[in-house]
Point group: C2
Chain length 300, copies 2
């Protein structure tokens, strides 16, 4: 995560966050782990979408899949620069590379019938109507705060560049991939086509982990572990140290995890566990302890 809510989103602020995260990841690499890094892109692609609109009178606005590709370049650059610097500081000479990543989704995914994922800025009803006519995009009222573009969020099915990523890992490269959940593409007549959609980054990470046959998926977030009855008071809240995919699915169904927040992270862990992988959910600060089983949540 390169930006937290309320942060300004300047380049310097993002790079500072990239440096902090790079320290934690470098610690894993130092201990011998072969690492693939993935990341979100919400604030960055939000900015790129605003820039597309503002520049529309002078230069052609790019479709959403291209904006995701741009954000992968942007964030990948910052992460690879920060991580490489941190590794060199520790005397580790390992190549780090960002790979532009497409993720295949199904055209028949139910999400395409009912776009629900809000992206980009808020508009007035009038502006939204005008943009909708100009671009064909769908806009919906968002919790009384105005109108926002909504796009489908289909389930990720396959990392298109999985072979390239596997070969890079085998070659000793530390890979940054599938940024922002990946560029959403569908397969038609044996070819890939970009679609107006966004893919959940955690679910895409689980597919990536499966596609490259990773042993472990680590999901870093703001809180140190998965909680039941989160924020329902001291006596009620319960930190999960270790759980099974079956139990996690039950907790998810019972509504313990917020949709769009802890929900997809737990779902990603369940998906990966059902393919035989284990997942740790924790915050960067507790990563080291979580690897020893002393913090975070392990789902397997």
């Amino acid at each position: 995560m390169l930006l937290r809510k309320g942060e300004s989103g300047t380049f310097d602020a993002q790079l500072e966050n990239a440096r902090r995260t790079a320290k934690r990841i470098a610690g894993l690499i130092e201990r011998g782990y072969r690492v693939i890094i993935t990341h979100g892109n919400g604030p960055q692609v939000g900015s790129i979408l605003i820039q597309q609109e503002k520049g529309r009178d002078e230069v052609p606005a790019m479709p959403l899949d291209v904006c995701v590709a741009e954000s992968q370049g942007e964030i990948g650059y910052m992460l690879q620069r920060a991580l490489r610097a941190e590794l060199i500081k520790r005397g580790i000479n390992r190549p780090v590379a960002t790979i532009v990543t497409q993720v295949r989704v199904d055209e028949t995914d139910e999400a395409f019938k009912n776009p629900t994922k809000p992206i980009g800025p808020f508009y007035s009803k009038q502006e939204a109507g005008k943009l909708s006519r100009q671009t064909g995009s769908l806009f919906k009222e968002d919790a009384g705060r105005g109108y926002r573009r909504v796009v489908p969020s289909p389930r990720p099915k396959e990392i298109v560049e999985k072979d390239a990523i596997s070969r890079m890992i085998k070659g000793g490269v530390i890979v940054i991939a599938s940024g922002g959940g990946g560029i959403p593409v569908v397969k038609r007549r044996n070819m890939f086509w970009g679609v107006e959609a966004v893919i959940d980054k955690d679910l895409a990470a689980a597919v990536l982990a499966e596609d490259v046959k990773a042993d472990m998926l680590i999901i870093l977030t703001d809180i140190k572990a998965v909680f039941l009855n989160y924020r329902k008071g001291r006596g009620c809240e319960m930190e999960l140290r270790k759980t099974t995919p079956e139990d996690a699915a039950r907790y998810l169904k019972e509504g313990h995890f917020a949709p769009g927040s802890m929900g997809p992270k737990v779902q990603a862990a369940i998906d990966f566990a059902l393919k035989g992988g284990k997942t740790i959910i924790t915050s960067p600060k507790y990563l080291e302890d979580a690897m020893k089983g002393d913090a975070g949540t392990l789902i397997e």
Copy 2:
């Protein structure tokens, strides 16, 4: 090249050009060549820069190095999608991947003392003055057409991700790298830092070819070969089929090749020849003939 002068720059126009180029490159891959692809980004980074300005009141504008990284994501995505589709059509199942690429330049490069490379849109004198105060960028009057931002264009020294690229090539991956001449970075205290500059894509390609120990550098352009006395009339114009770096350097000095156009391409060929590599300069249409020595210009 994904855009020619006067083309609209919409996504569809760019993708169509990417598909045409992909056909030629797929031909090389089919004949067994291991290929690294590089490309320019002038029109694309120009659009991104305009979008940064237009969106500045709402979201932080990113520095030039980040804009180059964004353009690498954008163009890389189009190229890898187009090339992969073309390969699958030919029954070739090879991974294609774009790698976000930094290129090291020297802080002591003379170019930093005298920025000369115009980038982005034209401004009035008043607008340029205001932007200059806001951003610290330098603006210069450009051939009576208005004011444009000028940045240094230092010589590329090293592809930062060369090890990752070499390992990918060894692993059978077709790599798209060093787009737009690469993201310009300098080394300070053993760490890389982004700089406000652009690197010539042809010179960067020569460094990439050297860094990965390529046998051949192919520079695809709009005209079928290098000419002496280009456009100086039928009897005067002379197509070069084969030349040495020494002769090419003499022709360059004599002013046969336009700066910013054929000049840097010939310079790139000279640079690479001095490291023992051979270069072909031709247009996509004549590529196949040029590989047999029947068209284009070979410099070695």
